[in-house]
Amino acid sequence: MRKAFSIISEADGQSDHQLLARSQGGEKQAFGLLVKRHQNRLFAVAYRFMKDRDLASELVQEALFRAYKKQDTHSGGSVKAWLTRITVNTCLNEIRKRKRLVFSEDSMDRWLSTDQKTDPAHKAQAGELREVVKSQVEKLSARRQSVLALSALGYSYDEMSEALELSVSQVKSELFRARKKLRETLKEYRS
C-alpha cells in the first residue's frame, strides 16, 4: 500500500513524456509510474475486447511488456495513444488466434443464437438486446470493433486516430458505419 502511494506521489507533476524519457534513459521505476498511471484505461480497453478479466489482465501485461521492449521506437506522439495502440493490437492478435482455433463451433453457435433461436416474446428484452448488440459487434471488422471499443471508453476522435493510426475522418466514418450496422440490427431484431 505504501509502495503504491509513493508511486502515485512520485508521478505527480511529471508528464507522460518525461516519464518515458526517464524510462528510456534506464530508469525502470519511471516505466512503473507510467504503468500505474495508465493501467485502468488499458485494462478497460482489453476488457472491452476480451470480456474476461483474467485474459484482459494477461494481455495488458503482455502489451506493457512489449511497450517497454520497444520504448525507444516511440515517435514522440501521445504516450497514452501509443500504449493504447499496443494494447489494441495485442488484443486483436489474440482474437485472431482464438478465432482460428474455434471458428466453426463458435461461429455456428453465434449464427444459431441470433438468427434462429431468438424468441423475443419469451426473454427479457433488455438483456436480449444487449446480447444481440454484443453478437453483432463481434461480427464487425477488427477496425470497427476497435473504434467502437475506444469510443465507448471516452477516447476522443483525435486520440482514436493516433491510437489506431487512422485519420480523424476515417475514425468518424468507421464509427458511423459501425453504429449504423448496430442500429440496423436493433431494428431487424424488433421487426
Partner: protein
C-alpha cells in the same frame, strides 16, 4: 447524400462520444424539430449508447508489480555478451573499409590519414602490403561471414 444522412452523421458524431442532443449544432436541432425520421435516429442512437454501456472491473492490484517482474526477468535472461555483436560489427566494418580502400580505383585523398595509420600498423603486425583487389574483396566477404556467425552465436544465447 441526402440532408437527413448529413444531419445524422453530424448528430452521431456527438452521440458516439457520449454527448447528448443538447450538444447538437443549431442547424441539427432545427432539422430535428421538423424531421421524425431523424428523431427516431436519435432515439435509436441513444438506446444503442445505453446498450453499449457496461461496467468494467478494475485491473488486479498487483498489475504494476507483475509487469515490472516480467521486465526484470527478461533482462536477467538477456545474453551476457552483447559487446560481442557490437565488436563484430565494428571490427568487420573497419576491415572491410580497409580492404575496399586498398583497391586502387576506390582510393581517394580522404583515406590518406587512415592509410598512414594502417601502414604503420601493417609494419608492426607484419601484414603483407601487396594484395590483389580480388583477394581483398574475398577477405572482406570472409570477415562478414565470420561476423554473421558470431552474431547468430550471440543471439542463440537469448
Amino acid at each position: 447524400m441526402t440532408d437527413c444522412e448529413q444531419f445524422q452523421e453530424a448528430m452521431d458524431d456527438v452521440l458516439a462520444q457520449g454527448g447528448t442532443p443538447d450538444e447538437f449544432s443549431p442547424q441539427c436541432r432545427t432539422h430535428l424539430h421538423d424531421c421524425s425520421e431523424c428523431r427516431d435516429f436519435v432515439e435509436e442512437s441513444l438506446e444503442l449508447n445505453r446498450l453499449m454501456e457496461e461496467p468494467v472491473p478494475f485491473p488486479p492490484e498487483d498489475m504494476v508489480e507483475q509487469v515490472m517482474a516480467r521486465i526484470e526477468a527478461d533482462q536477467l535472461s538477456e545474453p551476457r555478451l552483447p559487446w560481442a555483436e557490437r565488436f563484430a560489427w565494428a571490427a568487420s566494418g573497419a576491415v572491410a573499409m580497409y580492404c575496399v580502400e586498398r583497391i586502387p580505383q576506390y582510393s581517394s585523398s580522404m583515406w590518406t590519414t587512415m592509410e598512414s595509420v594502417l601502414t604503420q600498423s601493417e609494419s608492426l603486425l607484419k601484414v603483407p602490403l601487396a594484395m590483389s583487389p580480388s583477394f581483398l574483396v574475398l577477405m572482406a566477404l570472409s570477415l562478414l561471414l565470420v561476423q554473421t556467425a558470431l552474431i547468430y552465436r550471440t543471439r542463440a544465447l537469448v
